[in-house]
């Protein structure tokens, strides 16, 4: 009965999906790799860390120009950022795309959370003297604290770091701000 549930809902034929006859299994793999669970939860932790918008998103236009960002804004840190990203890319890119697809949050909540993330990252960047590497370390520190508070045992700090790097590319972390001219 449990195997039928497993095969019908996820199509996953893994022998890991099993259960004793007493507990109900919903056909989900019993233990996802911890980087995937980390990335799935990271977005939901954002509102616990950042609760203030000090730049209203209606006045601001985020220009998603990655070239401008890396080459001009963070010119001195270009090599460092690229090197770090290359290190983590092979390990966590899969988990990131899986987490993005299956996040289960609806678009309005996601938009709200990402607005909070943008503002939080700007604030942290200011606190760290416009040094993006230090600011990213500070941000991962915040998330690490929140994970520890929520008693989540197996979270991967490097997965959080990779998530923030990818969001930097998507211009959700340290966005380029242009104040709209009226």
């Amino acid at each position: 009965m449990n195997e039928k549930l497993a095969q019908s809902s996820t199509g996953n034929q893994s022998p890991l999906i099993s259960g004793d006859g007493n507990s109900v299994s919903y056909g989900v793999r019993k233990k996802l790799a911890n980087e995937t669970t980390t990335m799935l939860q990271v977005v939901t932790l954002i509102p616990k860390i950042a609760s203030e918008n000090f730049i209203s998103s209606e006045e601001v236009d985020y220009s998603r120009d990655i070239k401008l960002k890396i080459e001009e804004r963070f010119f001195e840190f270009k090599e460092e950022l690229k090197g770090k990203l290359q290190n983590l890319q092979a390990l966590y890119s899969d988990a990131y795309s899986v987490a993005k697809e299956n996040s289960g949050l609806d678009e309005f909540r996601l938009r709200e959370y990402y607005n909070l993330l943008r503002n939080l990252s700007i604030k942290v960047l200011g606190e760290n003297g416009n040094n993006p590497v230090k600011a990213l370390e500070a941000l991962t520190g915040y998330f690490k604290e929140e994970f520890a508070n929520s008693e989540c045992d197996d979270f991967s700090e490097q997965a959080v770091e990779y998530f923030l790097y990818r969001e930097l590319i998507e211009c959700n972390v340290f966005p380029n701000i242009e104040i709209k001219n009226y």
Binding site: S57, E58, D61, Y62, S63, R64, K100, E101, N102, S103, G104, L105, D106, E107, L110, R111, Y113, Y114, E170, N172
Partner: protein
């Protein structure tokens, strides 16, 4: 690129946006005149790997706002313009 006034939000994958779910719903409505909403949910579950009820609801809202679909409890039917 402005972050407002976009039909598909950038933060979310394309396949879970309201537009794509609306497309899947219309595909289902092509075959029959009207569908029970529970059957609609079932068919959406079969078609997408990541199904969420709120996502399906936003798809229905999107279609209703554009005048393509109407509701007659418990059916969802397509309005031909």
């Amino acid at each position: 690129m402005k972050s407002s006034n976009q039909l598909v939000s950038t933060e979310q994958g394309l396949r879970s946006s309201s537009v794509y779910v609306g497309f899947l719903i219309l595909q289902e409505l092509k075959k029959k005149d009207r569908v029970l909403i529970l059957d609609l949910y079932q068919s959406l579950k079969n078609k997408t790997s990541n199904f969420s009820y709120s996502g399906a609801l936003y798809g229905l809202i999107f279609l209703h706002m554009n005048g393509l679909v109407d509701f007659d409890e418990p059916y969802v039917y397509r309005t031909n313009p």
